[in-house]
Symmetry: C3
Subunit: 158 residues, 3 copies
């Protein structure tokens, strides 16, 4: 499969903006990286591979993502913490009619207020990116995490 | 040194496909990323720098890599585990006659069946990539790991 | 914002060369990635966000960076150790007159002589890259680290 350079970089740039908004606590920008009607799901690799639809989070519209951010801002009970995403190995796997499928590997480190740092989550993104508008947007984003040991109270988007 | 965009992305794409096959347990695809006659070696940075040829794994043909996969599949005695590769900083260091040399930094996280997650290995890839065929292939891949503390029973390719 | 492919890859390539020099202990090359007059600062995210100028390291010329390397080489009292940088999500945020601003996420793993491996630092680079010369150079590099728990005796550049 031959991938146009511009497509590769457009997807990588969307991912870079996405993780920057999260890690710099500009969560209000997060829903804006998705199309109005979208699919965002966080699911374990075990459930994903066994085709069990049970994820730990699901949203199918930008509005639901906005609600999620509002809830996170109100539920300000968590210990302050930071996250640092690293994303690599973005692989375009298909393109059709301006919609691109891509997968990437991610790693998220969590930094607690006292400075304690730990690997929080690793996994991969399965993305469907809509390149037809003025800015690339996620039409679908599946976050498939590797470890079943994940906080059920996911404090932030992945 | 000026590097054509297409060369840079071709090497990055090969690396992305390579790590995706490993992390998604499609090990049977792994030998297919190498030329028939090839060099694949896993070696500690200490031995590499002291020019001691002693690595923890060596193969010089696609057939040997296939044998390795077969052995891994049969020796299914290990605790089930996952790996997650992150690769970054891919730097093309030379090109001659369709063969490109490149180095990259890698990090591998291991996720045990119970969800325990740990840094498994960090290091760099020194690759020689053959761009002359229909798909880019590794003619040579040196995996130079940073830590001498590595499982001698390497369960998976790095 | 539309980013030329060549600009994106030039910045990524500079970052790749930069971290390779550090991780392969070719520290003498490190000052050469900066312009003669430059700004290099390592600062915590807390201080950066509160606009406190207090960083853990600051230099405003290539000469100061050279002095730093000389000091590190003389103060060879540290336990031998290695570092492994991973850099991702490089995002060009502006360009003006051949000067490009970019940010990236980084993660550094430290490997002690006995092989013990640990996450050393995560954070982001805020870079101003001068593309006007024969090679891209950092006119400014801010290393904003996430965790307040960082060795005050930073053994190596970040």
């Amino acid at each position: 499969m031959s991938v146009p350079v511009e497509t590769q970089l457009a997807v990588e740039r969307l991912l870079a903006r996405y993780v920057a908004s999260i890690d710099e606590d500009r969560l209000e920008e997060w829903p804006g990286y998705f199309t109005e009607v979208c699919c965002y799901q966080i699911i374990s690799s075990e459930n994903y591979e066994q085709r069990l639809p049970l994820g730990v989070f699901f949203a199918d519209s930008r509005g639901m993502l906005r609600d999620r951010v509002a809830a996170l801002r109100q539920a300000n009970v968590y210990e302050p913490q930071r996250y640092r995403h690293l994303v690599s190995s973005t692989l375009i796997t298909g393109e059709s009619g301006g919609l691109v499928t891509a997968q990437s590997h991610y790693m998220v480190v969590r930094i607690m207020h006292d400075g304690a740092t730990a690997l929080f989550s690793t996994g991969r993104y399965l993305d469907r990116v809509d390149l037809r508008g003025p800015e690339p947007l996620f039409a679908e984003k599946l976050v498939i995490f590797d470890s079943r040991r994940i906080d059920t109270l996911l404090a932030i988007p992945l």
